[in-house]
Symmetry: C2
Subunit: 196 residues, 2 copies
């Protein structure tokens, strides 16, 4: 029986919905936006800053200047946030049976033998359709929105873990939710958590 499940996901692949459903089926705590709220309390940074930076800190480090030159405890604001986020994820996993979505949790918790690390992806057309259904149209076309978001996640992951985001070997199981279907993904993960 695995105690902690991390779900990494391409934008629009239904990874969050799958994570939420798995948590409900297992009776586990579910952490996604909850992490943002806790970090806002701890750090005094705004929720919207944390939401934008928590998974893209490295690209913020590299490409933008929101807090240029500003440091907290001798670190850039982005590195400070990464450090706080890392500590919080380690603490949550220690305390709770839980599902954690995103935020490099697979890497942060890779030493835990009671964790199952999952990656959810799907082809671009299916993901584009899903984000328009869920979040509506914007001026930017959906394919570009997918690419921008996943590019930032990949850059962030590389910067803080030195691994390549989305490589099979980072995760115990990777699933194409577009071909396999959301319900079947939930079933496979649920069965695995119970059997391992």
């Amino acid at each position: 029986m695995k105690k902690v499940i991390t779900i990494s996901r391409q934008f629009g692949s239904a990874g969050r919905s799958i994570g939420k459903a798995v948590a409900e089926k297992l009776g586990y705590a579910y952490y996604d936006k909850e992490i943002i709220e806790k970090l806002a309390e701890q750090t005094g940074l705004s929720k919207s800053y944390i939401e934008n930076t928590g998974e893209h800190a490295a690209s913020t480090n590299l490409f933008s200047y929101a807090f240029v030159g500003r440091t907290i405890e001798g670190q850039s604001v982005e590195d400070y946030l990464w450090q706080k986020q890392r500590e919080l994820i380690l603490e949550i996993a220690e305390k709770d049976n839980c599902v954690i979505v995103g935020r490099c949790a697979d890497y942060i918790l890779k030493e835990r033998e009671d964790a199952l690390h999952v990656f959810i992806h799907a082809d671009q057309a299916k993901r584009a359709k899903r984000i328009v259904e869920l979040y509506g149209e914007t001026k930017v076309n959906p394919e570009k929105r997918l690419m921008d978001k996943d590019k930032k996640r990949a850059v962030n992951y590389k910067y803080y873990t030195n691994h390549t985001w989305g490589m099979s070997e980072n995760y115990h199981i990777s699933l194409d939710s577009g071909v396999i279907g959301i319900d079947e993904c939930i079933d496979i993960i649920f069965r695995l958590v119970n059997e391992l």
Copy 2:
């Protein structure tokens, strides 16, 4: 019900054994070394050349000079072999319910909607142990043997497909056989083939 299963695998991850067991359970034909024999018949090239080159043609192209300057039908011997292998895999998938191991079959058959594409991996320590048990010790240490073989597969895959070998998004499902276990991998794939 999927008709064709491709299994790509890290060296030593038990991908072949898993593929063979899935084929037996499903009553499907199993293709691995059989492809080498058929290609030898068709091309007149030796089995050992095909075995060494069929998954490493690009690295042979880049790094060695076995057939330097020699061409068949206006192509390098390696590209000719790739072409023949591609045609054979397309033909096998059309004809048979089957499991095909390696040889970029996931890419070659990616347009087939009745195919399930699987990647099997495991951590280095478990794979090193397995190749020593299966193939014995050699002068080269097992970690280096793993790296050499997978590096060649990755270079070959990149050269002929322009994708990154081992990225989750190339496959419908990727499994860590070391953590999930060989029997459970077989069960998951078997169930998926039947349910999709």
